[in-house]
Amino acid sequence: MRTKNRWVNVLFLFPAVFAFLMVIVVPFFVGIYLSMTNWDGVNPNVIFTGLQNYTTIFQAPEFLYSFLATTAFTAINVALVNAVAFGLALLVTSRVRGRNVYRAAFFVPNLIGGIVLGYIWQFIFNNVLPAMGRSLGLGFLQTSLIAKANLVVLGISLVNTWQYAGYIMMIYVAGIQAIPASLMEAAETDGANYPTRLVRILMPMMASAFTICLFLTLVNSFKQFDVNVSLTNGGPATIFMMKAINSSEFLALNIYNTAFARSKLAQGQAKAVLFFVVLVVVSLIQVWVNKRKEVEM
């Protein structure tokens, strides 16, 4: 019986674990090796070069900038997506008429791929809004938000919020619905006004929902690629450390461009490995902070 069980275990685990090993684990280690070579994707003679690719990357202002821009985007985006999503969650759990329709509608953008969505919004930013600005005589609409180096990050963040807030909202909704209604009602009877109830009762009761949402948006923002590529393609240009570079080329796009547009496959791979390290650190910090908060409460 025991040996038979063991065979069932192996058989049941095999497909998922095997695919996982072949598709993620092995390429992951192959990738770490290739990042320390002169690999170009064509020449079969790959030479080991040690940490040379890494030192080259660290000297490139464009990578440093990309890192800073991604960090700025992540900070703005996490705040914006969560604030909007939480607001939407409050709206669709209130007594407002048609709340179920709204809940379903807010989720729709999340069904659409980032590539497709980026082109739609590029059209809106560059064609629709300026046209509206012209016909309404509003000057600030006439220059595209994504054509300005200091505003483009906000533009991408707005699009990401539109896409992602509906999904995050769903998690907050579930968090709100898990709170016993009697609790809020009791507080209302005690004379606590709405903001007080929100901050004192609702939000603390939802700590785990906040953990999940912050984690999801953080990782999602940091990995941003599809919308980045189709909405701004890294542009517009800006100056950083005396070099002209692309102001919205986030890390994932920078890695892709390094490997393909600039034909430096091994260097792109080295950037990807660093990207991974940063993601691990960020995720660990995030989990640690949230666990501590939950314990305190």
């Binding site: 695919a19 989720f107 809106i124 898990a178």
Partner: protein, 290 residues
Amino acid sequence: MQRSWHRVRPALMEALAILIFALFMVPFFLVVLNAAKVSVDIIDNPVSWPKAWGQLFTNIGLILQNSNINYWPSFFSSAIITVCSLAVIVVFSAMAAWVLVRNRAWWSNVIFMMFVAAMVIPFQVVMFPLVTWFRQIEVVTGIRLLRQYLGMIFAYLGFGSSMSVFIFHGFIKGVPLELEEASTIDGCSRPATFFRIVFPILQPVIVTVLILNGIWVWNDYLLPLMILGSGNMAGAVRTLPLAVQSFVGSYVKQWDLILTATLMAMLPIIVLYLFAQKYIIKGMVEGSIK
């Protein structure tokens, strides 16, 4: 004062709700509006009403005939890849998760932690080596993975398994062991117990896994680009996002056809959402909390 506020507030809330709703829907409206125009009219004025809605069908016809997009073959390739990937992800992840939950041992912890830890790995780290590695597999074993359904679905199983195992794991922990014990006493083998007793119970969480992975697989761009390549050769496997990008990304930007193409790329999933909306929302909510 207090009294009138109570009457005004619901009205205000409703106005706000409608406003936000409109903001969320406007982009879709603009797509449809401009997909019914010719390019010149769009550049002239992107917010004007179309001269004739018939143009929408003309544009759809042009997209369907476009040899670069190859809409129907791309659509079916996408559908085959999505359906098959979902089937293997659901069945194999559930099987693995069940074994991991029901065997409390060092190895089950290690495997589970490995799946969880892998969720942090960004696709960029593995995407370049993955292609090289798949090629190596072909050289050694003769099994073709690149540019094939097989490789595509296998890759989705690998990438989809870590989150799916995690979700199933969380759910199965809550399934009482008594049910399975009863069936074992009745003489069911372990695999039979899983497929007859456990798997049907998983239905709500299966919906979650299907939806989370389905949206991702249907819309995914980079992984198909790596595995399938970006050419438009007749007879090759090619997904809808690849087709749209190869059409839209070219230097010539015809917004009329681009917007029609985006409309046709998102329509299938929106139609599905309209029909299965209840499941999708329920699945998302339950999935994210687990």
